[in-house]
């Protein structure tokens, strides 16, 4: 990133560069006169972000209050960490936290490798037409809403779905995989794979396309077979992307997806489907215990922030570019 300011006065296009570029920066009033249209352009976004992102972030003070909507933030009584100590004493909170972390871990093992494998497979397909067609098909579910995905799953493997229907028609006991708390973690992972594995492939495909084909040819000339080439050229080529996405996922460990769980919580029960986000929603919003819900949400946000920063720090440590590069 350049730190040198480019002076963009249209009247003087051929100014000789000043000897010390840093000092040549014009007075801010001059730049304001020049750049006000740009600032005007940015203004709506900044206003929206301040209003709908930063202002509610400040609103998290109610986590430290016995907040009542009738009294308002200003006049509600401060109770210190009471909400938090209540939360840490609540078994349901720990259960939600445990569910969240289990699901993240499970998806890391069973979801994460699939886009990589898919990308490798698709990359090895020679026919461009087959490749674009399959890509188009596997990207598609990413653009479906969770409601739709859950609906489709229900129609396929739910109690009244196609699977149960054909089992019954053939004289077997019908199963309902949509309401079984024991297999719920498997179900949500399969749903996530169905919806997003294809989309997740996109980054790996791009990384694969940047690998120099001459490397493969040279390796082949040296007698490396296809598996050796995969091991010594393809996988190292993918390494930065894999590390980056792995770290991103770790940083997002407390976020497993909201709608997917809120939609299915009723069917399988809170024991299996309660994650931190749904906990905040039910305990805070539906019960109307705003201060308590905000405390749980703040906990999630802060731990999430620490995880992201730590993950990024870790990325820099292992020599990768990281997520938020230090430009």
């Amino acid at each position: 990133m350049t730190t040198v300011d480019e002076v963009r006065t249209p009247t003087a296009p051929h100014q000789t560069p000043a000897p010390v570029p840093r000092r040549s920066r014009p007075h801010w009033r001059l730049r304001l006169r020049r750049d006000w249209p740009l600032l005007l352009m940015v203004a709506p976004v900044i206003v929206l972000l301040l209003l709908f992102h930063y202002l509610p972030t400040l609103g998290n003070v109610i986590a430290f209050q016995d907040y009542s909507p009738y009294v308002g933030i200003r006049d509600s009584e401060f109770t210190g960490l009471a909400n938090f100590s209540r939360m840490f004493g609540d078994g349901a909170f720990w259960s939600a936290l445990a569910n969240t972390l289990t699901i993240t871990a499970f998806q890391l093992v069973f979801f994460f490798p699939i886009p990589i494998l898919l990308a490798l497979l698709l990359n090895s397909v020679l026919s461009v037409r087959v490749r674009t067609f399959i890509q188009g098909v596997v990207y598609l579910p990413h653009f479906f809403s969770w409601v739709l995905v859950v609906s489709l799953f229900q129609q396929m493997i739910g109690g009244a779905g196609l699977l149960a229907q054909s089992l019954r028609a053939n004289g077997f006991q019908a199963v309902d995989l949509m309401t079984n708390p024991d297999s719920f973690i498997l179900l949500v992972t399969v749903q996530a794979v169905w919806k997003d594995a294809g989309w997740g492939m996109i980054v790996f495909l791009a990384a694969l396309s940047t690998i120099n084909p001459a490397l493969y040819e040279a390796a082949a000339a040296d007698g490396a077979n296809r598996w050796r080439r995969l091991w010594h050229i393809t996988l190292p080529g993918l390494r930065p992307v894999i590390v980056l996405l792995l770290i991103l996922r770790l940083g997002d460990a407390l976020t497993v997806g909201f709608e997917q769980f809120i939609l299915q919580r009723q069917a399988v029960g809170a024991g299996a489907a309660e994650v931190l986000d749904t906990y905040v929603y039910f305990e805070g919003l539906l019960v109307g215990d705003f201060g308590y819900g905000a405390a749980a949400g703040l906990f999630k946000g802060l731990v999430g922030l620490v995880l992201v920063l730590a993950a990024n720090k870790f990325a820099h440590l292992v020599g990768e570019q990281g997520v938020y590069s230090r430009s």
């Binding site: 350049t2 963009r8 249209p10 801010w28 750049d35 740009l38 600032l39 940015v42 709506p44 976004v45 929206l48 709908f52 930063y54 509610p56 972030t57 609103g59 998290n60 109610i62 026919s127 087959v130 399959i134 890509q135 188009g136 098909v137 990207y139 653009f143 809403s145 409601v147 739709l148 609906s151 489709l152 799953f153 229900q154 129609q155 396929m156 009244a160 196609l162 019954r168 169905w194 996109i202 980054v203 495909l205 791009a206 493969y216 296809r226 909201f258 709608e259 809120i262 299915q264 905040v280 929603y281 919003l285 705003f290 905000a294 999630k300 946000g301 999430g304 922030l305 992201v308 938020y324």
Partner: protein
């Protein structure tokens, strides 16, 4: 031509795209790959196929199949006619369409403006402003404070609550900014020399060169609005204002009928009379929720890689 006879019969022709140094695939590779790809294709396409066929089937055909229809017979548009002739679903479709259109236009407009405003190197305060945008990646405000804000602004039960809080996606903004920064500065400078202001430069030089990224970002926004479920769940108590996704959840996922008293909706012929809508109608709702995505998708799909990669590199 006798080349036909010369070719060894045991091996298939060498693929023209296969590099000369690469060995021929083994039998497993030759058979396994198509099988896996076909499987992947079926896993995604089959549910959609079944849903579409069921939605097009007559009530008798659905009853005979004992649920979802796999083999199409007696196809009819009855379910769609019923759904689209007024009632809850028609209304939800209109609401979703309007929200998607207005929301996408608004989001796209402010994203383009801000992306350009932040893309000129050395402009006043662009670093701190960019920082304000990037910082939003690191934390979310949380559900409860967001809800309280929307409620204190008086936006509960208003359609604006579905648009304004989610109107700007920092990711989309960064993707677009990165694209704008890739446009050669010479083009922009020459326009400036000709006396064009920033707005003119954006409209006449930058935008015409950025159709691809605008299309992709527009699709992202549109899909976001079309699929928006959670904001509607949070901010709309009045179920006569529900967009399609909430209707979908109520009918399909929860298998309920909309609570009566939904603003005269129950009097409508489409869904008011039956205790639960028939399976064909249910599946038709599902199809109606997919169709817009399917319609736009083919035109924009080819630009995905570029857009996402820029986002991944710069984000």
């Amino acid at each position: 031509m006798s080349s036909h006879a010369v070719k060894p019969l045991s091996r298939p022709a060498r693929h023209p795209d296969r590099p000369i140094w690469e060995e021929e695939p083994t039998l497993i590779g030759r058979l396994g790959k198509p099988v896996v790809l076909a499987l992947v294709f079926l896993i995604i396409a089959f549910p959609l196929y079944v849903v579409v066929v069921t939605s097009l089937s007559s009530t008798e055909a659905v009853t005979r199949a004992g649920g979802l229809v796999v083999v199409p017979r007696e196809l009819t548009l009855a379910a769609y006619v019923q759904l689209l002739s007024g009632g809850v679903v028609t209304r939800a479709l209109v609401i979703s369409t309007v929200i998607t259109t207005v929301g996408t236009a608004f989001s796209l407009l402010i994203t383009v403006l801000a992306a350009y405003g932040l893309s000129r190197p050395g402009s006043l305060w662009h670093r701190p402003l960019l920082f304000v945008v990037l910082l939003t990646f690191l934390f979310g405000p949380g559900i409860i404070p967001s809800y309280l804000l929307v409620s204190s602004l008086g936006l509960i039960d208003s359609y604006a609550s579905l648009i304004l809080p989610t109107a700007i996606s920092a990711f989309n903004l960064i993707v677009m900014r990165a694209f704008f920064m890739g446009i050669p500065t010479e083009l922009i400078d020459s326009a400036r020399i000709d006396g064009a202001g920033e707005f003119a430069v954006l409209a006449r030089i930058v935008l015409p060169l950025s159709k691809a990224v605008v299309a992709v970002v527009g699709l992202f926004y549109a899909v976001g609005y079309w699929n928006s479920f959670f904001t509607a769940l949070l901010y709309l108590n009045d179920n006569s204002k529900w967009p399609l996704q909430l209707v979908l959840r109520t009918y399909i996922v929860q298998a309920q009928v909309l609570p009566s008293g939904a603003g005269g909706v129950t009097a409508s012929p489409a869904l008011g009379l039956a205790p639960a809508p028939s399976l064909a109608i249910k599946m038709a709702i599902v199809v109606l929720a997919v169709i817009p995505v399917l319609l736009v998708y083919p035109f924009i799909q080819k630009h995905f890689t570029k857009g996402v990669i820029i986002g991944a590199v710069k984000g």
